[in-house]
Amino acid sequence: MTQQEALFQFLLRMGDNTLILGHRTSEWCGVAPVLEEDIALANTALDFIGQTQFWLGYAGEVEGKGQDADRLAFHRDAWDFRNLLLCEMPIGDFGQTIMRQFLFDAWHSIYIARLLKSSDPRVAEIAEKASKEVAYHLERSADTVVALGDGTEESHSRMQKALDYLYPYVGEMFLADDVDAAMVSAGIAPDPAALRDEYDALVQKVLDEATLTVPGNRFAQKGGKNGAMHTEHLGHLLCSMQWLQRVYPDGNW
């Protein structure tokens, strides 16, 4: 794997995370539990789509085959996606949606903070643009997790169920592979494995406040960030997300 290929993969990972999670979030359009959440979810989705444009735009440049962000978003099949499995899981109930958001935001905020000091100026620039949004996402999702975890008996039990369901998808964030090694040695991105303690501390603090119990089993589902084995959910997501582009490949929208 060349350095260029590794950088391309790294950028796909960043961009696919925000693309796929942004898509999931946008599925809430018009049906959130309360109007303020409709607004917040649309806003989060919007931020993620914006970040996707930057990451995949740069990915296309690095790849050098003339693919722009839209081409990468809408013309790859599931096996070429590099998002964390966590991002492609279904929205479930609102508890599952907001718990996933929190588990992702916590990692995203820590990771993006490291990218601010990336040796690649484009990466640092995108991270800079994203960092305020990411900090806001975390603040909001953490608050909501706390409110619902420490709300009623039902909201508590739904949040615990969401946490138990999603926790096996947390470990993948911290698995390091050749791509990560290449990014570390080039000073472009941090070693994912080195971020786990900081993540655990952050998550533990919020979940304590939310009166929720972090699952003991740390078994990690994997295969998203390297594309080896996505879940069955991603294929269905792409059916909708890429429909128009696949049916009308010559369209100019």
Partner: protein, 311 residues
Amino acid sequence: SDLERQFQARIDAGEKIEPKDWMPEDYRATLIRQMGQHAHSEIVGTLPEGNWVTRAPTLERKAILLAKVQDEAGHGLYLYCAAETLGVTRDEITEMLLDGRMKYSSIFNYPSLNWADIGAIGWLVDGAAIMNQVPLQRTSYGPYSRAMVRICKEESFHQRQGYDAIRACAEGTDAQKKMAQDALNRFWYPSLMMFGPPDSDSVHSAQSMAWKIKINTNDELRQKFVDQTVPQAEYLGLTVPDENLKWNDETGQYDFSQPDWGEFFDVVKGNGPCNVDRLADRNKAWDDGAWVRDGMMAHARKKAAAKIAAE
């Protein structure tokens, strides 16, 4: 009564009525109905758009649509807040929507069937809405008037974006052109219906106009909409689906066919293509979200109690 005369005099003088001012019960009820319907329309209106958020053709169009949906939820929020100044809670009027006591704009009972519909909704539906709403910036009730100022600014932005989206289709491939024409075919008459029945059949109007809750008549606004929209359609190379449409040199405006008012009343009665599904979607969202609202409320109470205990 004297109060009523004084009230009308203030309105005639162009003064704004504010929440703490005395007002006739009918004025209050009419405003609640009108603002509630408007708020509900913003919310229900996100459903046909949400139907294409997940299938938007580019990241840019998806972002634009998400921003629009976010704005609309925001408009709903302003309007519910403005309605609350009249002594009705957001939950109360929401429940009136959910059980069918209050309506939303019938246009949202038509389906969004192809991507160009999203453009058509911006161009035609927001266009018609703006025409209805711009005069309401001068409406007599202060909070409503101020909400409308904010809303109109964003709506005209949405309209331009909608026009731009359908323009891209109209200038695109044959299939895209077909989408654009298909969207215009389906949304033209429903858009004309958005101004309400012909003045000859319209109820409520006289009193509402005296109270400056309504500023123009339905037919005036409809004509204005047609006159504005037809040249835009021509510019796009699209055909307005009306054989009788033609410029009238004498009146200086377009002659056009009335929509099928039978269909209009069918849709109002609940027989539109999407009435049942739209209301079912909103009810499901509300019911499924009950635990979230309850949980948030419970947590807020705990925090407030803890704060008091700490003081």
